[in-house]
């Protein structure tokens, strides 16, 4: 997903409104791909390239522009394609602070401080999952981020759900029935017997799921 910014003249006022926005939500543009739609600016607008530079100085990651007038110089027109990004169909006009600009703070980690029992399933869709205790045989823990188990991991662990290949699985004692990161998996049979009972981490190396002892 990319955000579309549509600057309106006068640009100085628009930038001031944007600054207020950034002050209210400093992380709003973090990791966010932005497309600048220049359609609202008249052809005689001076130094549009300088304006885009000012945007980038504010931490806005511009991946492309649209609607630039042919007479403007130094403007990279069109989209610079970026893996897994797509322009949002609705342009987001930046005006005075609006509720939409304050993304609800979602927890980025979940801590479970008791054992996960057989038959229980913990699914965390917003980041890392930590279990202080053991995960029993027949239990399942799933996270979009990494999984940490401070105990024996005897059940199933699936990290990096929704395509996060950099997620990892850590456990104090590996007795797992099933390990998976971003869809690549090992069943218990495929796990090297020498790693059983040890503290390990699992990660993705290209297209293979690697497991190695931590001690």
């Amino acid at each position: 997903m990319a955000i579309v910014l549509t600057p309106e003249p006068p640009l100085a006022n628009w930038l001031a409104a944007l600054d207020a926005q950034i002050k209210a939500a400093p992380t709003f543009f973090d990791q966010q791909a932005v497309i600048v739609e220049l359609i609202a600016l008249p052809a005689e607008t001076p130094d549009v390239a300088g304006f885009l530079e000012q945007l980038e100085q504010r931490g806005v990651r511009i991946i492309g522009t649209e609607g630039a007038h042919p007479s403007w110089r130094g403007i990279k027109t069109g989209l610079r394609p970026l893996a897994n990004t797509r322009a949002s169909s609705k342009p987001v006009a930046i005006r005075a602070p609006s509720p939409a600009a304050h993304p609800a703070k979602e927890p980025s980690a979940l801590l479970i401080d008791r054992p996960v029992r057989s038959g229980q399933s913990v699914v965390f869709e917003h980041g890392d999952l930590t279990v202080v205790g053991s995960v029993s045989s027949g239990a399942e823990i799933v996270a979009t981020g990494s999984i940490h188990v401070y105990g024996a991991l005897r059940g199933r662990a699936l990290a990096g759900l929704k395509g996060n290949g950099s997620a990892r699985i850590f456990c104090r004692r590996l007795e797992a029935e099933f390990l998976s990161i971003d869809g690549l998996y090992h069943t218990a049979d495929e796990i090297e017997p020498g790693l059983r009972g040890r503290a390990v981490q699992a990660w993705l190396d290209g297209k293979s799921l690697m497991i190695a002892a931590l001690d």
Binding site: G119, Q120, G133
Partner: protein, 272 residues
């Protein structure tokens, strides 16, 4: 204040009914007012183990449905005055158990007795969940083998989520009763060791009941094992477990692999 105990396990045949009868009798012998309640509707056994099968008139279902009063269904034990049984129905199935009716019966039992001990059916369905529903304390009966341990683990998860206490955000006291423990076979690696089971289930140990013919003999006679042979190893283990339930600190005795001189000479192993 009355305490409601559920004796549960997930898996069948591990010793729930035997343990319910034995613990109930042991607590009653100590002077407490105890009722043992059979929740295994359709497959009732507790009346047999208690030796009361020929005295059943009304049962739990009759009381739950309002067809009989509680005092009409309660059967007082002939050996211990403070021990009573609320039998299950053999002719009905578990769908006849209604949550509101069960809540009402348990509330009424709480007023009459010090201990209400509910013998759960095997499984994780209606009968089992209703048996644990109102419990303050759970006795999880487990045999030292992997399938029993995993089923117990599942049950502990349910105790922590489906009971009234759990839903109120309170804790339910969970205790492990390791039944049918055979020290010789555990030493040979044919059974899980005590510490393995404790490590997996991570709940406090209430007692270790050694595998013994005395248990089977007592069941067939219709006498709780604690009454049948006061000197036997399982009796001592159950009496200690009952004392721990009452809050006493009792040193845990691990069934050991005792071998008499003669059996050692013959190369045979005997269980203490």
């Amino acid at each position: 204040m009355a305490r409601v105990v559920v004796v549960t396990s997930g898996k069948g045949g591990v010793g729930k009914t035997t343990s319910t009868a034995a613990l109930g009798a042991a607590l009653a012998q100590a002077g407490e007012h105890v009722v043992v309640v059979d929740f295994d509707v359709g497959l009732r056994n507790l009346d047999l183990v208690m030796g009361a099968e020929r005295r059943v008139v009304f049962d739990l279902i009759n009381v739950v449905q309002g067809d009989a009063r509680l005092h009409q269904a309660l059967i007082r034990d002939k050996r211990i005055e403070t021990l009573s049984l609320l039998p299950a129905s053999q002719t009905r199935d578990k769908d006849a158990l209604k949550p509101e009716g069960v809540a009402k019966v348990i509330a009424e039992l709480r007023e009459k007795f010090d201990w209400v001990i509910c013998d759960s059916p095997a499984g994780i369905e209606r009968g089992a969940t209703l048996a644990m529903r109102h419990a303050d304390i759970a006795v999880v009966v487990t045999n030292p083998e992997v399938s029993s341990v995993r089923d117990s683990d599942r049950i502990i998860g349910l105790l922590d989520s489906k009971t009234e206490r759990a839903e109120r955000g309170e804790r339910i006291d969970k205790h492990l009763l390791l039944a049918r423990y055979d020290a010789v076979r555990a030493a040979r690696g044919e059974m899980l060791k005590v510490e393995d089971v404790l490590e997996i289930l991570s709940i406090p140990l209430l007692g270790i009941i050694p595998e013994s013919e005395d248990v089977l003999r007592a069941s067939n006679l219709g006498v709780p094992v604690t009454l049948n042979n006061p000197a036997s190893a399982p009796t001592r283990a159950y009496l200690d477990a009952a004392r721990r339930l009452r809050g006493e600190t009792v040193v845990m005795t691990f069934p050991s692999q005792k071998r008499s001189l003669i059996s050692r000479l013959l190369g045979r192993k005997a269980i203490a």
